[in-house]
Chain length 201, copies 2
């Protein structure tokens, strides 16, 4: 039985033949009909489907926001001057993967709205979203490190700040870092709300 339905089924049957009050012989009489008291109470309420569906709708909205933000991060970094090829490439690829995953996950999110009690699908989404938390956070942190070095440099390593020379790049990478952190936070929220929707009622 589904854990979300509290099914209560009670059935009581009592069969009690009346005694012959006078004790006289009743020739050929059929035995008295049994008294049957049947009480059947069936309660199949599902009061908590609502919040599950609410979480599922919120999940879909978050994914749509995530697609927009991840695509923005990809576009911002992808269209900048490629000053730091390796990091830019990793960042663009990671955010493109995040966008693609979010698009592909939309149908499953919609299925979770239609059938909010599907636990297996939700668990699959939690696992994949967690991997995406790692990917998005790695891209964001890596880009943030580069952005900080570009802005401030590092005197110990003799790395001079480059934002005087590449002002456009520094502007782009700052926006891209913010977007990428936002994507990571969105994935964390997705995991949190998916987990909460696995609560028992």
């Amino acid at each position: 039985m589904d854990s979300d339905r509290s099914g209560v089924l009670t059935e009581v049957s009592v069969q009690e033949p009346k005694a012959n009050p006078k004790g006289k012989a009743v020739a050929g009489a059929a035995p008295p009909p049994p008294v049957v008291i049947s009480s059947k109470v069936t309660t199949t309420s599902n009061p908590k489907g609502g919040w599950r569906r609410g979480f599922a709708i919120f999940d879909l909205v978050l994914r749509l926001c995530g697609i927009a933000v991840a695509l923005a991060a990809t576009a911002i970094m992808g269209t900048t001057q490629q000053t730091l090829p390796f990091f830019t490439q990793f960042f663009v690829i990671a955010n493109a993967i995040a966008s693609g995953y979010l698009v592909l996950s939309l149908p499953f999110s919609i299925i979770c709205i239609v059938r909010p009690h599907l636990r297996g699908l939700r668990i699959v989404l939690i696992v994949l979203d967690t991997l995406m938390v790692g990917l998005a956070m790695a891209a964001a942190a890596s880009a943030a490190t580069i952005a900080d070095l570009a802005q401030n440099g590092n005197s110990n390593a003799n790395w001079a700040p480059i934002c005087q020379q590449f002002d456009d790049f520094c502007q782009s990478i700052t926006e891209a870092v913010q977007s990428s952190f936002a994507v990571a936070v969105i994935f964390i929220l997705l995991v949190v709300f998916s987990s909460l929707s696995l609560r028992r009622n």
Copy 2:
């Protein structure tokens, strides 16, 4: 039926005809119906508690491994020459937080072994582990970026590699990065197995 309840179905039927008070013969009367006492007890035990407990034990082992690896990462980076103060600090603090969280989560992991059906506690652990995935991955990615720059430099930004000068630092940061990525992977595995243990039977 819910996996966490051992279903007990008890059915008792008592059919007891009243005695003829005068004890006279009742010619042609139907024979008194037999007294039937039926007691039916069906116990549906939970045969799947085993894998849940197995996951919980694996969870505890993973956390113990995670503590060792995170402490190693913290120690390696914390005892190196602080060539890049900000990143070193962030890395050390992040891994120290991860170690501390893992230590604090041990009692709850043990509770999950004793009571493998506690769903709420498991969900709390999933949420916190997910946050730790983000933290550990950010520390690892940031350190990996610095390690790569220290190793290879970046010609576009005129950042020279520094591993010739700071060989000890480069050795340390490489080990620390590997440890920190291992910590992040451990957290991802924790989330995955916790999610799987929320499956319905």
